[in-house]
Symmetry: C2
Subunit: 390 residues, 2 copies
């Protein structure tokens, strides 16, 4: 099996951009990825593309991915749209890695895009609802925040987790995002702010929920030969794990963890030949504050029920042992559904290259964790630092 | 690069099934694929799934693919939804082949599903419109049939192609589909019927358009080692070509051919190491009658402008040199969008195993051609017969 390397990664600013389209946002992300790639790299070398989007917002619905690659000048390359709700581009990245590993292509483009703010708020709520199970969740009136609220309630009931802990996730991620010039909600918040926000779906309040965001991201995946030729082998894909799970929360055996995340993490660790204790930095899927806490446990960063302790002790702060969501996470950086998975990789690429807004030193292994819906599908990618060869 | 083999393929009946869901239809297809596989094969061996659907019909919109695999008992395997409009499962198959070739998996499931008849006819028309370009085609009122009608007009204007030739496509494909017990419109039609049907989008009439169909299909792709162990190496994936193109017809350099199909065919032939003259049997994407004629030319079965001659001379009849759409094609077998690409492979698998409803003998190479929209993306797969090893 061929090795795969990340040789470039970029994103558009995340935010509310009523004057932009999915095409213009992706073009910005793609240009940013090209700028980050070695000078000798030419987009003509891109053999294939995998792009993620939930994409039911009323613009191009069918075939939007080929429309995107044609728009940025990648004429005629095979382009596939991947949709696994909020994990669309995590799965797109996995396909790009698979294509490179197969030897069928030397360079694959993975990315994602979403325009969420051009629809009425009613429509956006409906739209987000489609990431949940339709028949027994959405049609019976459960909002998507309501699904995660049930998980929060269950975790608070089962363990020593409090609403203050949910708010601490917001405080940490906003502190990081305030330094990220491409973040949607790039401002700090205090614990008091985060405790006193209006309720969205009890026990989740406004500061426990990510925003509705427009944006795009793009990642260039290269074979080992191509990466070596370009002298860019600093970020190897050490593990690409994925799993699916029951789409409906009511269909699962537990509410206090996401089985698909557990399995995806195990697969990624096994492929990378390491355990969670070797991860130096993580971007995890904090669509709601409780999701970050579940991620700590599902990915083995701590024992079940211990996530709040990890957070309270500052382990996942930038100066802790396992900085998490240094980009600001979905909470502060924003969550343009299809762009989130590869957007996480943009942060890790910048970290490996020393250009992150909240820079972490001495990285060996970094992890990206992208969840579709409330856990219908998860990808976990582990990246390992190698030395630049040229 | 590892070789990939098709070791099983099955489909639900194609038709109008108001009492079925995307889950129940896929379950039928999956069971049918398992029945066609070697007796020693267990579904527990399936490592990963790629499923295609356009899927904006109002049922499960986000994450429908994991819902499907969980429903059929494939708990926790990575499952990715692919959407490239009408080529969704052609691209899903290509991903499954890529995954097997990468060595990451031994057995991958490819398939597709679509429920089209549970929406109002207005909604279905809108829905099909999403396979075209949104801003300048759909929003300006061009129907999807209208897009192909422009291609038909252009071909009739440029070459010796007539409305009678469009009708001959219907007569041939209905004659084949009448023998296929799983066809949606499983009846014969005469040239007179096909010439005198009501107009849909001039020059296309009702018999020049495929029906609106519910259905599902499933294909099992195995690595060479897995295939040999199961004693099922009769159908090797010799070539997996794909390309994208401008989604809007008005953006293309020609109306009398589909550039993405030309490129996808060239890629598949190159990988297979053969030319079009070696193809013994083809399933081509005849969503509208003109599309079958374009396919003959785009895939190199004849020179540009000569498709009607091929048809008139009976070359693509079952007793001709290059039988095409022996299943009945999209026209008679039906076109459940996401299920069509892998549905074509079901026909070819049956042909390789001597169980097709219109059986063709002495097959060495067979081709499947699946077009997304009016040519925003195309896949071409070429399969080669090998002897069964056990």
């Amino acid at each position: 099996m061929n090795e795969a390397y990340i040789i470039g990664a970029g994103q558009s600013p995340f935010g509310s951009y009523p004057d932009e389209t999915y095409l213009s946002l992706f073009e910005t992300a793609f240009d940013s990825a090209l700028e980050s790639a070695p000078a000798a790299f030419s987009p003509d070398a891109i053999d294939e593309a995998y792009l993620g989007t939930l994409g039911v917002g009323g613009r191009q619905i069918g075939l939007s991915a080929p429309a995107v690659t044609e728009h940025v000048g990648l004429h005629g390359i095979p382009t596939t749209r991947v949709e696994n709700a909020c994990a669309a581009s995590g799965f797109a990245l996995r396909q790009a890695v698979t294509a490179v590993r197969s030897g069928m292509v030397d360079i694959a483009l993975a990315g994602g895009y979403e325009v969420m703010t051009d629809t009425s708020s009613d429509h956006t709520r409906w739209w987000l609802g489609v990431s949940g199970e339709t028949e027994w969740e959405r049609m019976s009136g459960t909002t998507f925040a309501g699904v995660y609220a049930q998980m929060a309630s269950a975790h608070i009931g089962a363990y020593d987790t409090t609403i203050e802990d949910l708010s601490r996730v917001a405080v940490k991620n906003h502190a990081n995002g305030a330094k990220n010039p491409k973040a949607h909600l790039g401002f700090e918040c205090t614990l008091e702010d985060a405790m006193n926000a209006p309720s969205v779906a009890d026990p989740l309040n406004l500061y426990h929920c990510c925003p509705t965001t427009d944006g795009a991201s793009a990642v260039l995946v290269a074979s080992e030969d191509a990466a070596r030729e370009l002298g860019e082998t600093s970020m190897r894909v050490a593990g690409a794990g994925a799993s699916s799970g029951r789409v409906g929360l009511f269909q699962r055996e537990t509410l206090t963890g996401i089985p698909a995340s557990i399995r995806a993490g195990e697969a990624a660790y096994e492929e990378a030949g390491i355990g969670p204790e070797e991860i130096d930095l993580a971007e995890v899927h904090d669509c709601f504050a409780i999701a970050e806490l579940l991620a700590y446990e599902d990915l083995g960063f701590c024992e079940r029920g211990e996530a709040a302790t990890l957070l309270r002790e500052g382990v996942t702060d930038p100066d802790g042992d396992l900085p998490t969501n240094t980009s600001g996470g979905l909470k502060s950086k924003g969550h343009p559904i299809g762009a989130t998975g590869t957007g996480q990789v943009v942060e890790l690429f910048e970290q490996f290259h020393g250009t992150a807004s909240v820079q972490i030193d001495d990285l060996q292994y970094a992890l990206a964790h992208n969840v579709g819906g409330s856990g219908g599908g998860t990808t976990v990618h582990i990246f390992e630092r190698e030395e630049v060869s040229a």
